[in-house]
Amino acid sequence: MPVITYREALHQALVEEMRRDERVFVMGEDVGLFEGAYKVTAGLMREFGNKRVKDTPISEQAIIGSGVGAAMLGLRPVVEIMTLNFIMVAMDQIVNSAPKAHYMSGGQVKVPLVVRTPEGAGHQLGAEHSHCLDAWFAHLPGLKVVAPSMPADAKGLLKTAIRDDNPVLFLENLALYTTRGEVPEGEHLVPFGKADVKRQGEDLTIIGLSRMTLMALEAAKRLEEQGISAEVVDIRSLRPLDVDTIINSVKKTNRAIVVEEGWRSFGFGAEVAARIYEEAFDYLDAPVVRIASAEVPMPYSKPLEQAALPSVDRVVEAAKKLAA
């Protein structure tokens, strides 16, 4: 199987879906001529022309809102928001338009829209440009939210997203674009609502998503050297959430750590922990541990930023304590 980057995997998915279905088009700031702020859409304009690859003004409401409108009428827009940090000015369309049209219309309209955007911190981008807000969006019924950690999932989930008849927030991660992995060529679909056990283990379960899955895997490797066998569950899809895979793993290991890049309060870890308590309380040997970013606006200075973020060290420390 070819080894390619996360970025190339996303690019492959876009190209394949655009070739497969004329209704699929790409729209966003600097996605065409500039080839994308993170180059995911590189070369698309050359192949598909400016009808199917649209450079927009800096108008996030219009980008997502017109995506909703075009999707309701039958196109399949894949819009890019340069980074998640800019989606806030378009919240109305993401919260009120996309996920509610189908329901409020009594099922008359569908919104097959994909909003692609990278989130994540760790690049000294400061407080405004380092957000991880997946939990905000996963809160919304009517929206689907996925966040792949690896190139193969990136490709498979993006293809699934484009074929889904519902609005999908597709969360990429700034730190992952250059990561590499094996990716099947051609048709490769990863279903929504299916977590993936990325590593089998016996002593405890580490649950992560997006970049945190890689951190969990790195921690699991180190833990193995210290005689602790960690299972790593990659959520992949926040909504719909695959509770079964989480519960089955916890029933096996009896201990769980949730790692998230966002803030802890009211976050992804809180939700996963609650599900575990609801459905596997009697199997737990210890309370669920949550590892998250410090609850501060992300600082610029490197040591401060590193101190704020989850790290492999923190996961390893927590796991050792939990397994003891």
């Binding site: 809102g65 409108g69 309701m72 000015v89």
Partner: protein, 335 residues
């Protein structure tokens, strides 16, 4: 704010442009909206309708004039003050009323309510409750038409308050930049809740906001159904043939409160009465009468017909079942 009333000569010229049938259709359409809305208000007072209820009373000429110019294949994106829009688009009054009552037989099976009417069969895509929300969506409809090379146009209708929100600028800019067949029709009913337009907008001539986007703009007397119709025909031709958007400002007046909860303390009864003197239905009737196209007997017949439709809608809605709570999770996601 005044828009100049037509001279007799101009009225005659305007009448000549339409068949008698078409003119009577406009009259009846306005009448249906008026009577339907009066009934909706009554149903609200009787607690049959919940939530917010925004009425089109005073805006009938804008609605009938604009919507009658559309083809069935054209798209409409609207806001929460849209019962009349649904009716003018051809939605079944029974199903509109049933939706207001939250019944399973409503247009949206009780999931939308007064503010969220959808009728895709008649190409009405909401019914959106956030000010300015549907403008970007209408641009998306423009993109769809452009993409598929269709001949449809999209009507995006909203209040003047929506021209002060960010989405307005983004949407008009994109529609103009990409030459999309979208007609932005602003119903300037003069008040956004209690705020008069000139207290909110530095540019009092709303239509002139089009200038910033190099878009055609025009103000029209929104109490004059034929004036609206004619302006709309121009905008439709510009969209369908020239592939260019327009901003139309139709100056009308909301006779009733913003919603049913609004007693209207921010304006005088003299002001309201002065606008009622220009009532779009009464005045149009007078014009038709003077032109010998309608008489008292026909007016009575039209009133009776409309009353029958409205009564039928109420009867249908009241006798319809509520949706079952078991259906609560249906339609969250498309299969």
């Amino acid at each position: 704010m005044e828009t100049r009333a037509k001279t007799t000569r101009e009225i005659k010229a305007a009448l000549r442009r339409y068949s008698k049938d078409e003119l009577l259709r406009l009259h009846n359409e306005m009448l249906l909206i008026r009577r339907f809305e009066e009934k909706a208000a009554e149903m609200y007072v009787r607690a049959k309708i919940g939530g917010y209820l925004h009425l089109n009373i005073g805006e009938e000429a804008v609605v009938a004039g604009a919507f009658s110019a559309l083809e069935p294949a054209d798209y409409v994106f609207s806001y929460y003050r849209e019962h009349g829009h649904a009716l003018a688009r051809g939605a079944d009054p029974k199903r509109v009323m049933a939706e207001l009552l939250g019944k399973a037989t409503g247009l949206c099976r009780g999931r939308g309510g007064s503010m969220h009417l959808f009728d895709t069969e008649h190409r009405l895509y909401g019914g959106w409750g956030i000010v300015g929300q549907s403008l970007p969506q209408a641009v998306g409809a423009g993109i769809y038409i452009d993409y598929t090379g269709g001949k449809e146009v999209c009507l995006c209708i909203f209040g003047e308050g929506a021209t002060d929100i960010g989405a307005f600028g983004e949407s008009l800019n994109l529609a103009s930049l990409w030459n999309l067949p979208v007609i932005f029709l602003c119903v300037n009913n003069q008040y956004a809740m209690g705020t008069r337009f000139d207290q909110a907008s530095a540019q009092e001539a709303i239509w002139r906001k089009s200038v910033a986007f190099d878009m055609y703009g025009e103000r029209v007397d929104g109490m004059d159904v034929l004036a609206v119709r004619q302006a709309m025909e121009g905008a439709i031709r510009r969209a369908r043939v020239e592939r260019k958007p327009s901003l139309l400002e139709a100056v009308a007046y909301r006779y009733v409160g913003h919603s049913m909860a609004d007693p209207g303390l921010y304006r005088t009864s003299q002001e309201v009465d002065a606008w009622k003197q220009r009532d779009p239905i009464t005045n149009f009737r007078q014009i038709l009468k003077e032109a010998g196209m309608i008489d008292d007997r026909q007016i009575k017949a039209a009133e009776e017909e409309v009353a029958g439709i409205v009564a039928g809608a109420v009867e249908f809605a009241e006798s319809s079942p509520y949706p079952s709570p078991e259906d609560l999770p249906l339609d969250i996601y498309a299969p």
